[in-house]
């Protein structure tokens, strides 16, 4: 037990130590050293994770570590404690694993930035909070991590803080997340008052043993928790912060806004599967929100010209697919896609970073093209990942996406259709990205063309590792013989997933999905390779494309409805209500003053007046006495 506590502490504190070192000594240590410290700090956590993973798989038993009492509420005792079980260790594997790779990548990518040590400090802090989120033994420890990663996201989106647009994006991300966080808090309050615990293990037992559960109230709690998930995992209606978050340096987009932080919502729902299983209506909501988000985001992704924006909408769309699976209670399927997505999307983002790096900051795909020859490793790794995300057999994404669609097919045909269309679009826009970036002639300046080169080893090495994972990652859950489902089985109350018997229906569905993906790729090929189209410049974009290009004007609509009205109200309160209230108080003072002033007039020394008042008073008293009798 002592050993486990120490391991858990090393796991979580190693990145925190990295953060402290970089904050206090980073500048004097120099860029490379600070980068190495940051990377090693996360790598240590990865090694610890491997040890823990080994332990969990061999013993099959969860490790519970309690450090101390944290918050005391009359019927709730909230410990600061950790739960290391199948789910958290699985999450840790890719958080720390991909985290280490991205730190390594950043040593080269951020080397020209004067504040590199701060970058690594924030990145380490992020990993620290992400680990806390994942291994917390109760919802409130999760919440420390949950808000903590939000803070790091804020700091890293606004990393180049001289640019106020970036700062706006950072602020927007934080505030939108907080809307979700309020949902999460309310969900916690309801669960806390129902079961007097926020601890996962205790909660699970309490729910299993409960008779006469107040199901409507529990459903309300589940809905509130899901609102929290919507914020963090960028689902409708709280998704608009994620594309803006691309203002941050590209490694941040890869780590935080693709592979890890944005999957926190899926983690939380999976963690509380026993709550959501009891709220079928909420599950339906989750499935619908997921499906619609995946489609809406995919349509926007079709026409974006900024390479990172395409990937950002793709991320929103893929997260939508994961929620689609969650909505059907297919937690292991969602988790499977989380993992494969982490591989290929991290690879794609890092690849795009390599391209942007090579072009000295250019992100507009209209000014790229023909980079295949100059950047072969970037090209091949991105191609592999694009094939994976498009669901081409037998890359990792093929297996995970196929399972999602298959699950959807068994529960709801309309949602299956929506998910499939989103998938076809995904294949299209990914290959649109590939053709525009890597094929045909280079469309940038001569200057840029002259400097085109493949990125160095620190950048290409993580790309290659991720490409390998994106290729073979599907092996962890082969249809009919899934290691992942077996591994995660202890987490779920019901029999893990309905194991799909591979019958005719399944093979047909698989065929349809593959065909859809290939059609998407083919259209992209015809449009952007055969016909050599390049997207129009901004002013020439018209019609539906313009609507999509401007993201259905959702930002503008939110701005008009929420931001402006609240600011208008603020102005009204400030200018009228405040002044009015103040005037009332002064008015009271004035009235008193006035009374005194009038009273003063009475004391004017005229004996006649005094005598008159005296007589009047006497009469009044006498008549009162008589009348009273």
């Amino acid at each position: 037990m002592e050993m486990d506590t120490n391991l858990a502490l090393v796991l979580v504190l190693s990145p925190f130590l990295g953060f402290l070192i970089n904050v206090f000594f980073g500048k004097s240590l120099g860029k490379t050293v600070s980068g190495i410290i940051g990377t090693v700090a996360v790598a240590v956590s990865f090694v610890v994770t491997l040890i823990l993973f080994n332990q969990i798989t061999s013993t099959g038993k969860a490790i519970q570590v309690t450090l101390f009492d944290w918050i005391q509420i009359s019927n709730l005792h909230i410990d600061l404690g950790f739960l290391l079980d199948q789910l958290s260790v699985l999450w840790l594997l890719f958080v720390t694993g991909i985290g280490s790779l991205i730190h390594l990548y950043s040593i080269s990518y951020m080397h020209d930035d004067e504040n590199m040590h701060k970058f690594f400090a924030y990145l380490n802090l992020f990993v620290f909070f992400m680990i806390t989120l994942v291994i917390g033994s109760n919802l409130l420890v999760l919440f420390i991590g949950w808000e903590g990663v939000g803070l790091c996201s804020y700091l890293l989106i606004g990393f180049w803080h001289k640019n106020q647009d970036y700062n706006d994006a950072a602020k927007k991300a934080f505030i939108m997340n907080r809307i979700g966080d309020l949902g999460l808090l309310i969900g916690m309050f309801i669960i806390g008052s129902m079961f007097s615990t926020l601890d996962y293990a205790t909660l699970k037992t309490a729910i299993a043993g409960a008779t006469n559960l107040n199901l409507p109230l529990l459903s309300l709690a589940a809905l509130c928790l899901f609102i929290g998930a919507c914020g963090k995992s960028a689902q409708i209606p709280l998704y608009t912060w994620l594309p803006d978050a691309m203002a941050g340096p590209t490694p941040v987009s890869a780590l935080i806004h693709a592979a890890t932080m944005v999957t926190a919502g899926i983690f939380m729902v999976t963690r509380l599967n026993f709550v959501f299983d009891l709220a079928p209506d909420v599950q339906t909501v989750i499935a619908i929100v997921g499906a619609v988000t995946s489609l809406v985001a995919a349509t926007i992704g079709l026409v974006q010209t900024d390479i990172k924006k395409v990937l950002a909408y793709s991320t929103v769309s893929q997260l939508g697919l994961m929620f689609l699976a969650l909505g059907f209670g297919a937690y292991e399927v969602a988790v499977f896609h989380v993992i494969t997505h982490a591989f290929f999307k991290a690879c794609l983002f890092l690849g795009s970073g390599s391209v942007i790096h090579g072009l000295h900051g250019e992100q507009d795909m209209r000014k790229m093209g023909g980079l295949r020859k100059a950047m072969p490793i970037t090209f091949w790794t991105m191609l592999i990942s694009s094939l994976a995300i498009s669901g081409v057999p037998f890359f990792s994404g093929f297996f995970s996406k196929d399972e999602i669609l298959m699950t959807a097919f068994h529960h709801s045909i309309p949602l299956y259709v929506i998910g499939s269309i989103a998938s076809i679009m995904t294949a299209f826009y990914m290959f649109r990205l590939m053709f525009l970036t890597f094929f045909k002639e280079f469309r940038g300046t001569e200057e840029q063309k002259h400097h085109l080169h493949e990125s160095d080893g620190l950048i290409t090495f993580p790309l290659m590792i991720l490409a390998v994972l994106a290729t073979f990652g599907g092996l962890i859950s082969l249809p009919g013989n899934s290691w992942l489902n077996e591994y995660m089985a202890p987490l779920f109350t019901k029999v893990a997933g309905e194991e799909h018997h591979l019958g005719t229906t399944e093979y047909t569905l698989m065929g349809v999905a593959v065909l859809g993906g290939l059609i998407g790729i083919l259209i992209a090929y015809i449009k952007y390779f055969k016909q050599d189209n390049v997207p129009e410049s901004d002013e020439n974009i018209t019609g539906l494309t313009k609507v999509l290009y401007n993201k259905y004007y959702v930002d503008e609509i939110y701005d008009a409805i929420f931001v402006r009205s609240i600011n208008g109200l603020s102005k009204f309160f400030r200018d009228y209500v405040e002044t009015g209230l103040s005037a009332v108080v002064f008015g009271l003072g004035k009235v008193t003053n006035e009374l005194a002033f009038q009273g003063k007039k009475l004391q004017n020394g005229s004996i006649g007046l005094y005598l008159f008042a005296f007589v009047l008073g006497l009469c009044a008293i006498i008549s009162y006495i008589f009348l009273a009798q």
Binding site: W70, F189, I566
Partner: protein, 479 residues
């Protein structure tokens, strides 16, 4: 050894400060405030060891008024807040020059004396005297050493003085009425006095008027923003960090247990009023141009939530309220100090004239950001512990209160981050901004350390205050 020692130290300190003259005044004041802090810690140890450190002495026989100081866990917590913040506040002024410094620092210590007395007093009239006594030093501090146009300042400060004084008179009337009934001003006698529901309502409202103005609860807050803006930062810190907690503390100590029936009957109205303050204060804060005014409205929002929690009449609500009072006391002092640090360099409080400080002053930016995050109750800060407990207690009364009060986490993030962006971020400011000096750094680091330590380990404070809160709740529920 008993708590009157602290009062004596502070009072002697005030005189000593005045008589050593302008040159040494600040250092002597700091010495005495630290001595008070040290003694309080010793007393805390005695208290925790089970020793009785309360005092009760007959003072005036007709009417019967006692010099009674009651040191239970709750009062000690508030005492510690006062004596911990006072040296920080005094030390924070070290970068400034004040004319007639001996009076200035003497008044600070005198105010600490009066506020400590208010927290400790266990006799209604003694309490009332301390309560009013605390108003005098802050009146002079704000009036004489404040900033901005003298005429406008006079108007704002005099309004504040008369307004709070007028509110308190109703409390005095309530005390006199209670004395008629109980034949004593002693708090335990007042707890026992039998009042009809109708009488309780009047008493409750009389107390409420005094406290609502002091805290302030909307719509009695109109003095606040202007006084916070016009007062010197030291005064603003004393007001927001400690003095407004006098009102909140008094709700728990006097108003609720003396008039429990009225409290139970009308609690929803007062909770709603507090929650309305959260939303109103947050929204008004959004469009403030003056940094100190923005912080004033933010304070209005935070204390609204605390007030709402006190009226829940649950142990969670009271505990959350006290935790949040302490957390808010520290964070608000830190934030006003940050505003002062900026003012020392830029001589402005106008947010639009700031910006681009981060590139020049990374240390200050980090500390300022941590304070901003504490203010928006990021988990891991003391403010989160308080706010979580408070919102949880509201959710137990009615989930809608928790949702509406919870908007503070969204709106708070909105106005604070907007402010942070305006003040600190953006292109490098053309005016140079020297990073924090050692003195400035010490105060901020101490505050941050307190906020983070209790953010993870609030247990010592919870354990200290819970028994006395339970006692008070027993009184409330007995009638």
């Amino acid at each position: 050894m008993n708590v009157s020692l602290i009062l004596i130290i502070l009072l002697i300190g005030a005189f000593a400060t005045y008589f050593v003259g302008d040159k040494l005044a600040s250092k002597v004041a700091l010495f005495f405030s630290l001595a008070a802090l040290g003694c309080s810690v010793v007393l805390l140890n005695h208290f925790c060891a089970g020793e009785d450190i309360s005092v009760i002495n007959a003072w005036i026989t007709q009417p019967k008024i006692s010099f009674a100081l009651n040191a239970d866990g709750l009062a000690i917590a508030m005492l510690l807040l006062t004596v911990a913040l006072t040296p920080i506040i005094i030390f924070s002024s070290f970068g400034n020059e004040y004319k007639n410094a001996k009076s200035f620092y003497a008044l600070i210590l005198f105010m600490a004396f009066a506020m400590t007395g208010t927290f400790l007093a266990a006799d209604g009239l003694l309490y009332y005297i301390f309560w009013e006594l605390a108003l005098i030093p802050i009146y002079f501090i704000a009036l004489i050493w404040g900033n901005g146009d003298a005429e406008e300042r006079r108007k704002a400060v005099v309004k504040f003085f008369i307004y709070t004084l007028a509110g308190s008179l109703f409390m005095l009337v309530a005390f006199i009425y209670l004395y008629q009934k109980a034949g004593s001003f002693l708090i335990e006698d007042l707890y026992k006095v039998n009042l009809s529901a109708g009488e309780q309502l009047w008493i409750f409202l009389a107390f409420f008027l005094a406290y609502a103005i002091k805290i302030p609860i909307i719509p009695f807050h109109t003095w606040q923003a202007n006084v916070y803006q016009k007062a010197p930062t030291v005064g603003t810190m004393l007001l927001s960090g400690i003095m407004l907690k006098m009102g909140l503390y008094s709700v728990i100590r006097w108003q609720l247990p003396i008039a429990p029936l009225a409290a139970k009957e009308y609690m929803h109205i007062f909770i709603a009023l507090g929650v309305a303050g959260v939303i109103y204060g947050s929204i008004v804060a959004l469009r403030q141009k003056d940094l100190k005014k923005l912080l004033a409205y933010s304070s209005l929002a935070h204390v609204g939530l605390i007030a709402a929690a006190t009226y829940t009449l649950t142990v969670d609500g009271l505990r959350g309220a006290v935790l949040q009072m302490i957390a808010h006391g520290f964070v608000v002092v830190g934030l006003f100090y940050a505003a002062e640090i900026i003012y020392r360099r830029y001589e402005t409080r106008n947010i639009s004239e700031m910006g681009g400080i981060r590139t020049q002053s990374p240390k200050f930016t980090s500390m300022f950001l941590i304070l901003v995050l504490a203010s928006v109750a990021l988990p891991g800060t003391f403010n989160f512990v308080g706010e979580f407990t408070v919102l949880y207690s509201l959710s137990q009364i009615n989930i809608c209160f928790a949702i509406l009060g919870g908007t503070t986490i969204i709106l708070g993030a909105y106005y604070m981050l907007k402010m942070f962006q305006g003040v600190m971020l953006g292109e490098t400011n053309s005016k140079t901004f020297a990073d924090v000096t050692v003195n400035e750094g010490i105060s901020l680091v101490v505050i941050i350390a307190v906020l983070i330590f209790f953010g993870f380990y609030p247990k010592p404070i919870t354990d200290l205050i819970t028994p006395s809160l339970e006692t008070i709740l027993n009184v409330i529920n007995k009638n």
